[in-house]
Protein backbone atom coordinates (compact mmCIF):
# COMPACT_ATOMS: atom_id res chain seq x y z
CA UNK A 1 0.00 0.00 0.00
CA UNK A 2 1.50 3.29 -1.15
CA UNK A 3 -0.32 6.30 0.22
CA UNK A 4 0.23 10.02 -0.34
CA UNK A 5 -0.92 12.87 1.87
CA UNK A 6 -1.47 16.04 -0.16
CA UNK A 7 -3.49 19.20 0.24
CA UNK A 8 -3.15 21.93 -2.31
CA UNK A 9 -3.14 24.66 0.32
CA UNK A 10 -0.16 24.74 2.66
CA UNK A 11 -0.57 24.55 6.40
CA UNK A 12 -3.72 22.43 6.42
CA UNK A 13 -2.12 19.60 8.42
CA UNK A 14 -0.56 17.15 5.96
CA UNK A 15 2.43 16.42 8.15
CA UNK A 16 0.21 16.17 11.23
CA UNK A 17 -1.96 13.53 9.55
CA UNK A 18 1.05 11.71 8.05
CA UNK A 19 2.95 11.60 11.35
CA UNK A 20 -0.02 10.42 13.39
CA UNK A 21 -1.05 7.84 10.82
CA UNK A 22 2.48 6.43 10.63
CA UNK A 23 2.86 6.46 14.42
CA UNK A 24 -0.43 4.62 14.92
CA UNK A 25 0.15 1.98 12.22
CA UNK A 26 3.70 1.33 13.43
CA UNK A 27 2.29 0.02 16.71
CA UNK A 28 1.07 -3.08 14.84
CA UNK A 29 2.97 -3.25 11.53
CA UNK A 30 6.06 -2.12 9.62
CA UNK A 31 5.56 1.40 8.18
CA UNK A 32 7.76 3.67 6.07
CA UNK A 33 7.15 7.40 6.22
CA UNK A 34 8.66 9.42 3.37
CA UNK A 35 8.97 13.18 3.72
CA UNK A 36 8.66 14.37 0.11
CA UNK A 37 8.33 18.04 1.07
CA UNK A 38 12.01 18.33 0.26
CA UNK A 39 12.19 22.12 0.34
CA UNK A 40 11.00 22.12 3.93
CA UNK A 41 11.09 18.59 5.41
CA UNK A 42 9.71 18.54 8.93
CA UNK A 43 8.67 14.99 9.89
CA UNK A 44 12.02 14.40 11.62
CA UNK A 45 10.90 16.98 14.18
CA UNK A 46 8.20 14.54 15.35
CA UNK A 47 10.56 11.57 15.21
CA UNK A 48 14.05 12.59 16.35
CA UNK A 49 16.56 9.77 15.83
CA UNK A 50 20.10 9.25 14.56
CA UNK A 51 20.00 9.21 10.76
CA UNK A 52 22.15 8.01 7.88
CA UNK A 53 22.59 10.66 5.19
CA UNK A 54 23.27 10.04 1.49
CA UNK A 55 24.01 12.67 -1.15
CA UNK A 56 21.70 13.02 -4.13
CA UNK A 57 23.38 14.09 -7.35
CA UNK A 58 22.21 14.84 -10.88
CA UNK A 59 24.36 14.62 -14.02
CA UNK A 60 25.33 17.97 -15.53
CA UNK A 61 27.33 18.57 -18.71
CA UNK A 62 30.97 19.55 -18.74
CA UNK A 63 32.36 20.88 -22.02
CA UNK A 64 35.91 20.13 -23.07
CA UNK A 65 36.91 23.47 -24.56
CA UNK A 66 39.81 21.87 -26.48
CA UNK A 67 37.54 19.49 -28.38
CA UNK A 68 34.56 21.86 -28.75
CA UNK A 69 34.21 23.45 -32.20
CA UNK A 70 31.56 25.95 -30.94
CA UNK A 71 29.08 24.69 -33.51
CA UNK A 72 26.21 25.65 -31.19
CA UNK A 73 24.13 22.46 -31.63
CA UNK A 74 23.99 21.82 -27.87
CA UNK A 75 22.74 25.35 -27.19
CA UNK A 76 20.08 25.04 -29.89
CA UNK A 77 18.97 21.69 -28.50
CA UNK A 78 18.70 22.80 -24.87
CA UNK A 79 15.08 23.82 -24.23
CA UNK A 80 15.98 25.30 -20.85
CA UNK A 81 18.54 27.87 -21.95
CA UNK A 82 21.20 26.17 -19.83
CA UNK A 83 23.89 26.26 -22.54
CA UNK A 84 24.87 29.30 -24.57
CA UNK A 85 27.56 28.88 -27.20
CA UNK A 86 29.65 31.90 -28.13
CA UNK A 87 32.22 32.03 -30.91
CA UNK A 88 35.06 31.28 -28.53
CA UNK A 89 33.53 29.65 -25.46
CA UNK A 90 30.51 27.91 -23.96
CA UNK A 91 28.54 29.32 -21.02
CA UNK A 92 26.69 26.85 -18.80
CA UNK A 93 24.01 27.73 -16.24
CA UNK A 94 23.69 24.72 -13.93
CA UNK A 95 20.53 25.99 -12.21
CA UNK A 96 18.69 25.96 -15.56
CA UNK A 97 19.83 22.44 -16.49
CA UNK A 98 17.26 19.62 -16.21
CA UNK A 99 19.91 16.87 -16.63
CA UNK A 100 18.22 15.47 -19.74
CA UNK A 101 21.57 14.55 -21.31
CA UNK A 102 20.51 15.83 -24.74
CA UNK A 103 23.55 18.07 -25.17
CA UNK A 104 25.91 15.12 -24.85
CA UNK A 105 23.91 13.20 -27.46
CA UNK A 106 23.77 15.97 -30.10
CA UNK A 107 27.43 17.02 -29.81
CA UNK A 108 29.11 15.86 -33.04
CA UNK A 109 32.58 16.12 -31.52
CA UNK A 110 32.05 14.21 -28.26
CA UNK A 111 33.16 17.33 -26.45
CA UNK A 112 30.56 17.03 -23.67
CA UNK A 113 30.56 14.53 -20.83
CA UNK A 114 28.47 14.48 -17.67
CA UNK A 115 29.61 14.83 -14.10
CA UNK A 116 27.54 14.44 -10.93
CA UNK A 117 26.46 17.58 -9.13
CA UNK A 118 25.09 17.45 -5.59
CA UNK A 119 21.61 18.95 -5.18
CA UNK A 120 20.58 17.61 -1.77
CA UNK A 121 20.38 14.58 0.49
CA UNK A 122 18.21 11.74 1.69
CA UNK A 123 18.29 10.55 5.28
CA UNK A 124 17.04 7.29 6.76
CA UNK A 125 16.32 6.69 10.42
CA UNK A 126 14.42 4.23 12.60
CA UNK A 127 12.79 6.38 15.27
CA UNK A 128 10.43 3.60 16.41
CA UNK A 129 10.90 -0.19 16.16
CA UNK A 130 8.43 -0.54 13.26
CA UNK A 131 8.88 2.89 11.72
CA UNK A 132 11.36 3.80 9.01
CA UNK A 133 11.60 7.53 8.28
CA UNK A 134 13.04 8.71 4.97
CA UNK A 135 13.49 12.44 4.42
CA UNK A 136 14.51 14.19 1.23
CA UNK A 137 16.22 17.54 1.61
CA UNK A 138 16.97 19.91 -1.25
CA UNK A 139 20.08 22.06 -0.82
CA UNK A 140 19.32 25.74 -0.33
CA UNK A 141 19.30 27.67 -3.58
CA UNK A 142 18.71 24.61 -5.75
CA UNK A 143 15.61 24.76 -7.94
CA UNK A 144 14.97 21.09 -8.80
CA UNK A 145 13.04 19.20 -6.13
CA UNK A 146 11.95 16.29 -8.31
CA UNK A 147 15.22 14.27 -8.38
CA UNK A 148 15.36 14.39 -4.56
CA UNK A 149 11.75 13.18 -4.29
CA UNK A 150 12.50 10.39 -6.74
CA UNK A 151 15.54 9.32 -4.71
CA UNK A 152 13.59 9.38 -1.44
CA UNK A 153 10.73 7.34 -2.94
CA UNK A 154 13.17 4.81 -4.41
CA UNK A 155 14.51 4.08 -0.93
CA UNK A 156 11.02 2.91 0.05
CA UNK A 157 10.10 1.14 -3.18
CA UNK A 158 10.27 -2.38 -1.70
CA UNK A 159 8.52 -1.54 1.56
CA UNK A 160 5.00 -2.92 2.24
CA UNK A 161 3.30 0.16 3.71
CA UNK A 162 4.57 3.58 2.61
CA UNK A 163 3.11 6.94 3.57
CA UNK A 164 4.35 9.89 1.48
CA UNK A 165 3.99 13.41 2.84
CA UNK A 166 3.87 15.76 -0.16
CA UNK A 167 4.80 19.40 -0.59
CA UNK A 168 1.89 21.87 -0.68
CA UNK A 169 0.61 23.02 -4.04
CA UNK A 170 -0.13 21.05 -7.19
CA UNK A 171 3.08 21.44 -9.21
CA UNK A 172 5.85 19.02 -10.22
CA UNK A 173 6.95 18.01 -6.68
CA UNK A 174 3.38 16.97 -5.84
CA UNK A 175 2.86 15.15 -9.14
CA UNK A 176 6.16 13.30 -8.68
CA UNK A 177 5.15 12.24 -5.17
CA UNK A 178 1.63 11.11 -6.17
CA UNK A 179 2.91 9.15 -9.16
CA UNK A 180 2.62 5.44 -8.47
CA UNK A 181 0.62 5.78 -5.24
CA UNK A 182 -2.44 3.56 -4.69
CA UNK A 183 -4.50 6.26 -2.98
CA UNK A 184 -4.16 9.75 -1.58
CA UNK A 185 -5.53 11.66 1.37
CA UNK A 186 -6.26 15.31 0.67
CA UNK A 187 -6.14 17.34 3.86
CA UNK A 188 -8.16 20.53 3.80
CA UNK A 189 -9.53 23.21 6.08
CA UNK A 190 -12.97 24.79 5.82
CA UNK A 191 -11.83 28.17 4.56
CA UNK A 192 -12.27 29.70 1.10
CA UNK A 193 -8.54 29.21 0.46
CA UNK A 194 -8.72 25.62 1.69
CA UNK A 195 -11.60 24.82 -0.65
CA UNK A 196 -10.09 26.67 -3.60
CA UNK A 197 -6.86 24.70 -3.39
CA UNK A 198 -8.69 21.45 -2.61
CA UNK A 199 -10.39 21.76 -6.01
CA UNK A 200 -6.98 21.98 -7.67
CA UNK A 201 -5.63 19.01 -5.70
CA UNK A 202 -8.69 16.88 -6.53
CA UNK A 203 -8.17 17.75 -10.19
CA UNK A 204 -4.50 16.66 -10.09
CA UNK A 205 -5.28 13.38 -8.31
CA UNK A 206 -8.08 12.73 -10.83
CA UNK A 207 -5.81 13.33 -13.81
CA UNK A 208 -3.21 10.99 -12.35
CA UNK A 209 -5.91 8.37 -11.79
CA UNK A 210 -5.27 8.15 -8.06
CA UNK A 211 -8.31 7.61 -5.81
CA UNK A 212 -8.63 10.40 -3.25
CA UNK A 213 -10.41 10.85 0.06
CA UNK A 214 -10.70 13.94 2.23
CA UNK A 215 -9.62 14.83 5.76
CA UNK A 216 -11.05 18.08 7.13
CA UNK A 217 -8.69 19.54 9.71
CA UNK A 218 -9.29 22.39 12.18
CA UNK A 219 -13.02 22.04 11.68
CA UNK A 220 -15.06 24.63 13.55
CA UNK A 221 -18.20 22.63 12.79
CA UNK A 222 -19.15 24.85 9.89
CA UNK A 223 -17.89 22.78 6.95
CA UNK A 224 -20.92 23.20 4.68
CA UNK A 225 -19.13 24.42 1.54
CA UNK A 226 -16.45 21.72 1.79
CA UNK A 227 -19.02 18.99 2.43
CA UNK A 228 -21.09 20.13 -0.56
CA UNK A 229 -18.01 20.07 -2.76
CA UNK A 230 -17.19 16.55 -1.56
CA UNK A 231 -20.75 15.35 -2.22
CA UNK A 232 -20.75 16.89 -5.69
CA UNK A 233 -17.45 15.23 -6.56
CA UNK A 234 -18.18 11.88 -4.95
CA UNK A 235 -15.38 12.29 -2.43
CA UNK A 236 -15.60 10.66 0.98
CA UNK A 237 -14.79 12.75 4.04
CA UNK A 238 -12.79 10.06 5.80
CA UNK A 239 -12.00 12.01 8.97
CA UNK A 240 -12.73 15.35 10.61
CA UNK A 241 -10.32 16.81 13.15
CA UNK A 242 -11.81 19.59 15.28
CA UNK A 243 -10.33 23.05 15.80
CA UNK A 244 -9.05 22.59 19.34
CA UNK A 245 -6.42 24.50 21.23
CA UNK A 246 -5.08 21.35 22.87
CA UNK A 247 -4.48 19.63 19.51
CA UNK A 248 -2.61 22.70 18.29
CA UNK A 249 -0.54 22.79 21.48
CA UNK A 250 0.44 19.12 21.15
CA UNK A 251 1.48 19.72 17.56
CA UNK A 252 3.46 22.84 18.44
CA UNK A 253 5.41 20.95 21.09
CA UNK A 254 6.51 18.54 18.37
CA UNK A 255 4.48 15.80 19.99
CA UNK A 256 1.86 13.55 18.42
CA UNK A 257 -1.87 13.67 19.02
CA UNK A 258 -2.05 9.85 18.97
CA UNK A 259 0.72 9.53 21.57
CA UNK A 260 -0.67 12.14 23.98
CA UNK A 261 -4.31 11.19 23.44
CA UNK A 262 -4.27 7.48 22.49
CA UNK A 263 -8.05 7.51 22.03
CA UNK A 264 -7.31 9.14 18.64
CA UNK A 265 -5.51 6.02 17.41
CA UNK A 266 -8.78 4.30 16.50
CA UNK A 267 -9.72 7.22 14.27
CA UNK A 268 -6.41 6.98 12.40
CA UNK A 269 -6.74 3.19 12.05
CA UNK A 270 -10.21 3.78 10.60
CA UNK A 271 -8.69 6.35 8.23
CA UNK A 272 -6.17 3.79 7.03
CA UNK A 273 -8.89 1.18 6.48
CA UNK A 274 -10.83 3.69 4.36
CA UNK A 275 -7.69 4.41 2.34
CA UNK A 276 -7.24 0.67 1.74
CA UNK A 277 -10.83 0.50 0.48
CA UNK A 278 -10.17 3.48 -1.82
CA UNK A 279 -7.06 1.81 -3.21
CA UNK A 280 -8.83 -1.51 -3.66
CA UNK A 281 -11.78 0.04 -5.48
Amino acid sequence: MKLAIASGKGGTGKSMVAANLAFTLSRTEQVTLVDCDVEEPNLHLFFPAPATTTEVTVPVPVVDENTCQHCGLCGEFCQYGAITVLSDRVLFFPELCHSCGGCTLVCPNDAIHEEPKRIGTTTISTPLPNLKLISGRLDTGNPHAVPIIRAAKNLASEDPVVIHDTAPGTSCPVVETLDGCDACILVTESTPFGLHDLRLAVDVAGRLGIPAGIVINRSDGNDKATLEFCTDHDLEVMMTIPFEREIAAIQCRGDLLCRVRPEWQNAFIALYVKCSTLAGG
Partner: protein, 111 residues
Amino acid sequence: MKICFTSKGTTLDSLTEERFGRAPYFIIIESDKGSFEAIQNPYADSAGGVGPKAAQLLIAKEVKALISGQVGGNAREVLAAAGITMYTVHAGGSVKDAFDQFTKNTLEQSL
Protein backbone atom coordinates in the same frame (compact mmCIF):
# COMPACT_ATOMS: atom_id res chain seq x y z
CA MET B 1 26.17 48.84 -36.10
CA LYS B 2 23.14 46.84 -34.97
CA ILE B 3 21.29 48.08 -31.90
CA CYS B 4 18.50 46.04 -30.33
CA PHE B 5 15.53 47.56 -28.48
CA THR B 6 13.04 45.50 -26.48
CA SER B 7 9.64 46.61 -27.71
CA LYS B 8 5.92 46.10 -27.14
CA GLY B 9 5.24 46.33 -30.90
CA THR B 10 6.74 46.10 -34.37
CA THR B 11 7.28 49.74 -35.36
CA LEU B 12 9.61 52.54 -34.27
CA ASP B 13 6.61 54.24 -32.66
CA SER B 14 5.99 51.21 -30.42
CA LEU B 15 6.64 51.60 -26.72
CA THR B 16 9.82 50.09 -25.33
CA GLU B 17 9.41 47.00 -23.17
CA GLU B 18 11.02 46.87 -19.73
CA ARG B 19 11.61 43.12 -19.75
CA PHE B 20 14.34 41.51 -21.84
CA GLY B 21 13.81 37.73 -22.05
CA ARG B 22 10.02 38.03 -22.17
CA ALA B 23 9.82 41.11 -24.40
CA PRO B 24 7.16 40.59 -27.11
CA TYR B 25 9.43 41.99 -29.86
CA PHE B 26 13.03 42.86 -30.53
CA ILE B 27 13.52 45.82 -32.86
CA ILE B 28 16.98 45.84 -34.38
CA ILE B 29 18.08 49.12 -35.91
CA GLU B 30 20.98 49.10 -38.36
CA SER B 31 22.35 52.57 -37.52
CA ASP B 32 24.71 52.83 -40.51
CA LYS B 33 21.97 52.03 -43.03
CA GLY B 34 19.08 53.67 -41.16
CA SER B 35 17.01 50.49 -41.58
CA PHE B 36 15.33 48.29 -38.96
CA GLU B 37 13.67 44.93 -38.53
CA ALA B 38 11.19 43.70 -35.90
CA ILE B 39 11.57 40.15 -34.64
CA GLN B 40 8.88 38.43 -32.64
CA ASN B 41 10.52 36.96 -29.53
CA PRO B 42 10.02 33.18 -29.83
CA TYR B 43 10.80 32.75 -26.11
CA ALA B 44 8.33 35.31 -24.75
CA ASP B 45 5.99 32.62 -23.41
CA SER B 46 8.50 29.83 -22.73
CA ALA B 47 8.67 28.25 -19.30
CA GLY B 48 12.23 29.05 -18.34
CA GLY B 49 15.74 29.92 -19.44
CA VAL B 50 14.36 32.68 -21.67
CA GLY B 51 17.11 35.17 -20.84
CA PRO B 52 20.05 33.15 -22.22
CA LYS B 53 17.93 31.98 -25.19
CA ALA B 54 17.00 35.55 -26.14
CA ALA B 55 20.62 36.62 -25.67
CA GLN B 56 21.72 33.83 -28.01
CA LEU B 57 19.28 35.20 -30.59
CA LEU B 58 20.86 38.66 -30.40
CA ILE B 59 24.33 37.14 -30.74
CA ALA B 60 23.21 35.31 -33.90
CA LYS B 61 21.90 38.64 -35.24
CA GLU B 62 25.31 40.24 -34.54
CA VAL B 63 23.79 42.90 -32.30
CA LYS B 64 26.36 45.15 -30.59
CA ALA B 65 24.18 47.09 -28.14
CA LEU B 66 20.98 46.30 -26.24
CA ILE B 67 18.57 48.93 -24.96
CA SER B 68 16.10 47.47 -22.48
CA GLY B 69 14.72 47.88 -18.98
CA GLN B 70 15.69 45.02 -16.73
CA VAL B 71 18.07 42.32 -17.88
CA GLY B 72 18.32 39.26 -15.64
CA GLY B 73 21.54 37.76 -14.31
CA ASN B 74 21.91 34.85 -16.72
CA ALA B 75 21.14 36.93 -19.81
CA ARG B 76 23.48 39.64 -18.57
CA GLU B 77 26.29 37.12 -18.25
CA VAL B 78 25.76 35.88 -21.82
CA LEU B 79 25.45 39.39 -23.28
CA ALA B 80 28.54 40.63 -21.45
CA ALA B 81 30.55 37.58 -22.54
CA ALA B 82 29.49 38.25 -26.15
CA GLY B 83 30.60 41.88 -25.86
CA ILE B 84 27.10 43.34 -26.23
CA THR B 85 26.83 46.65 -24.36
CA MET B 86 23.66 47.09 -22.30
CA TYR B 87 21.83 50.37 -21.74
CA THR B 88 18.84 51.10 -19.55
CA VAL B 89 15.86 53.01 -20.90
CA HIS B 90 12.96 54.05 -18.70
CA ALA B 91 9.47 52.85 -19.57
CA GLY B 92 6.91 55.03 -21.33
CA GLY B 93 8.79 56.18 -24.42
CA SER B 94 8.89 54.89 -27.99
CA VAL B 95 11.68 52.93 -29.62
CA LYS B 96 12.38 56.03 -31.73
CA ASP B 97 12.78 58.16 -28.57
CA ALA B 98 15.15 55.56 -27.14
CA PHE B 99 17.16 55.51 -30.37
CA ASP B 100 17.45 59.33 -30.25
CA GLN B 101 18.70 59.12 -26.68
CA PHE B 102 21.16 56.42 -27.71
CA THR B 103 22.58 58.53 -30.56
CA LYS B 104 22.86 61.56 -28.23
CA ASN B 105 24.67 59.29 -25.78
CA THR B 106 22.31 60.16 -22.92
CA LEU B 107 21.31 56.59 -22.03
CA GLU B 108 22.75 55.08 -18.91
CA GLN B 109 24.95 52.07 -19.49
CA SER B 110 23.88 49.18 -17.26
CA LEU B 111 26.82 47.23 -15.87
